[in-house]
């Protein structure tokens, strides 16, 4: 399970570059949607408001021009009054340009010449007798022009009004709408992130719970929720873990039960063979060798059974009563001497304290040492030392080392890697070492020594010596 998790963690890297994550996609979708909507509404508002304001301006200009046209017509009908005087009598604002065309000649209140620049379609339409309004420019500013035919006096009146205030209003409106759109984008981005958090939150919880479960914490469950959308997922997730937990417990119980059932007959066998060996001198010579074969096989069977039982113990919830703060160096030294090995294999140094179940840890060290005996010409050196937080035990051997691809494989149960031939080992030795190291909150791995042999390292979290009980 752990291995699978590692593989997934490894493959997560390159994939993320090719495809945006769910979170990012959510944020992008919400933000883009909001900005598009805001732009659409803003543009619509602007277009409608602009049309309405322009229309309003055109109407008022037309009304004012028609009123002036009446004044001009009446003025011109009064014989003898000069055109300029008539035009001058109009009470138009100063910004308004008034022009009259009569018999092909132009008269104006302010002969800026702009009247002659009027669009020809406007001039044509007025000549044809229509009241016309249109947009033009006055000294580069937007302006509305209104033309009124005066058939009674044979002339045409044009008034051009600058629309500065209108264009200012429109500019302001556009600025406000643009600002609102940008604000919407910012709010949408924040909301999108929040939404993504809300959506991703439960997913993260599921993910980290699955991670903890994969790491061996089978007590992990998702907290119940009253969210109807999530409760189904939470429910089935927890049900899955329950099933898994139950299944693992059942398997472990089965293995433990089998081991225990095997103990009694094995004890009878071991005892009987020992009695026979004690009486070997009274037996015909041929039988002695047979007895040795029997004893060797029995020892191996016993070792396998013990490893199986220890494995079940290491997997079970630790029994706190037999754990204590222990000097790791002393423990290793006693392990070496108890198994009849030279304690000088252990390089001297200060005490290194760990919290451990001593008999379990002894089994881990014994298994490493026996592994070296069986596969690599024996142990050359054992080192106990420390890093910042951890205590480390190196067990170096005289063998050819373990090739790279096998360095993880050898910790699998019943894995006999490469050239390693099945010998006296149970096939569980190294996996038991790993199980024990992990039960202590540490781990074990294989590397190589400068001399080319294999180096097995057990890492355990350090504790400070002191009050234990």
């Amino acid at each position: 399970m752990r291995y699978l998790a590692d593989v997934q963690a490894f493959s997560r890297g390159p994939r993320s570059r090719r495809r945006a994550g769910l979170r990012r996609r959510l944020v992008v979708a919400v933000t883009t949607g909001s900005v598009l909507l805001a732009t659409f509404l803003g543009t619509g508002t602007f277009v409608l408001a602009r049309g309405y304001l322009l229309d309003l301006r055109e109407r008022s200009a037309t009304r004012a021009t028609l009123a002036d046209a009446v004044v001009v017509r009446e003025g011109l009908r009064t014989a003898g009054r000069p055109v300029s005087e008539v035009l001058g009598s109009l009470s138009a604002e100063s910004s308004t340009v008034v022009a009259l065309r009569r018999d092909g000649a132009w008269y104006g209140s302010a002969l800026s010449g702009s009247a002659q620049d009027l669009p020809s379609d406007v001039l044509d339409a007025v000549r044809d007798g229509h009241v016309v309004h249109a947009w033009t420019s006055l000294d580069g500013r937007p302006a509305v022009v209104v033309g009124v035919p005066l058939p009674a006096v044979g002339g045409e009146l044009f008034e051009i009004r600058a629309a500065d205030e209108l264009s200012q209003t429109l500019t302001t409106l556009r600025t406000v709408l643009l600002a609102l759109t940008l604000l919407t984008a910012a709010v949408a981005l924040a909301a999108g992130r929040r939404l993504a958090d809300v959506v991703m939150g439960p997913l993260h919880e599921v993910g980290s719970a699955a991670g903890r479960i994969a790491a061996g914490d089978l007590g992990t469950r998702l907290a119940p929720t009253d969210d109807p959308d999530l409760s189904a997922i939470v429910g089935s997730f927890n049900a899955m873990v329950d099933t898994l937990d139950e299944r693992l417990a059942r398997d472990a119980r089965f293995a433990a039960d089998v081991s225990h059932e095997l103990r009694t007959p094995l004890t009878a066998l071991v005892t009987s063979v020992e009695v026979l060996r004690g009486r070997a001198s009274a037996m015909p010579p041929g039988n002695e060798r047979l007895l040795d074969v029997l004893a060797t096989g029995l020892a191996r069977l016993r070792r396998l059974l013990e490893d199986l039982i220890e494995l079940a113990r290491a997997e079970a919830v630790p029994d706190d009563t037999s754990w204590k703060v222990t000097d790791l160096r002393e423990l290793v030294r006693h392990t070496l001497t108890d198994s009849g090995r030279d304690p000088d294999l252990l390089t001297p140094g200060p005490a290194v304290t760990v919290r451990a179940e001593p008999r379990m840890l002894r089994r881990a060290v014994v298994n490493l040492v026996e592994n070296a005996d069986a596969h690599a010409g024996g142990v050359t050196r054992v080192v106990v030392h420390t890093s910042t937080d951890d205590a480390l035990v190196h067990v170096d051997d005289a063998g050819p080392g373990v090739p790279w691809p096998d360095r993880e494989l050898i910790f699998e149960r019943f894995a006999r890697a490469g050239r390693r031939t099945p010998t006296s080992g149970s096939g569980l030795g190294l996996s038991l070492v790993r199980q024990i190291a992990r039960a202590h909150g540490g781990d074990v791995w294989c590397s190589d020594t400068d001399a080319g042999g294999a180096r097995f390292t057990i890492r355990l979290p350090r504790t400070t010596a002191g009050a234990d009980r």
Binding site: A268, V270, T271, E274, S322, P358, R359, R362, G466
Partner: protein, 234 residues
Amino acid sequence: MPSRVLVVEDDDAIRIGLRLALEDEGYAVDDAASAEDGLLAVRRDPPDVMVVDLMLGGMDGFDFIRSARVSCGAPVIVVSARADTHDIVAALEVGADDYVTKPFEIKELSARLRALRRRSASAPAGDERRPPLVLDGAEPALVLDVDAATLHRGAEPVGLTVTELRLLCELAAVPGRVLSRQQLLERVWDRGFFGDERIVDVHVRRLRTKVEIDPSAPRTVVTVRGLGYRLDLS
């Protein structure tokens, strides 16, 4: 005279094997296939040491130990097939002295037997008789006579098992000084670095119920936190 061992074991193969193996080791062996037969054997002919399987048909090993302890202080070694360590503690609580777990080798079992049958290691070489030691200031006082291997409160003898008495003697040999669990394991049970320290703890608990006025507030056999146990004379 050889030590007499009583083997209580319901599995025929193991019982027969144990009997032969222990006889080869020089013990006089009596055996019983059930707790009931075992109790009869204890009453008929009290053994020097007992080897008891915890899982027996009918009356189980715990009941056997509890009942046998009423009349017999001989050391009991429990044989356990269950790795469940609560069983071992429970057996120690009812009066067992030590344990081996199946599958064991005979040399392991006989090492345990030898350790429990050993004379107290702290006995001096000379033949000078040591005076009885007054352990507390209560009335009547608790008096330990190491050489006679007896403990009395006033005129009443206090019924200690062989192992409890040896534990008390070890502590009384160095009154006021702390002995670590490791040291006690080594001296009383002959167990090394990897011995189970709970054996010491349970025995101290059992000892206190017999020697202390108030076992929940011990004043004679006191715990020294993080270090071990000490016998205080007062």
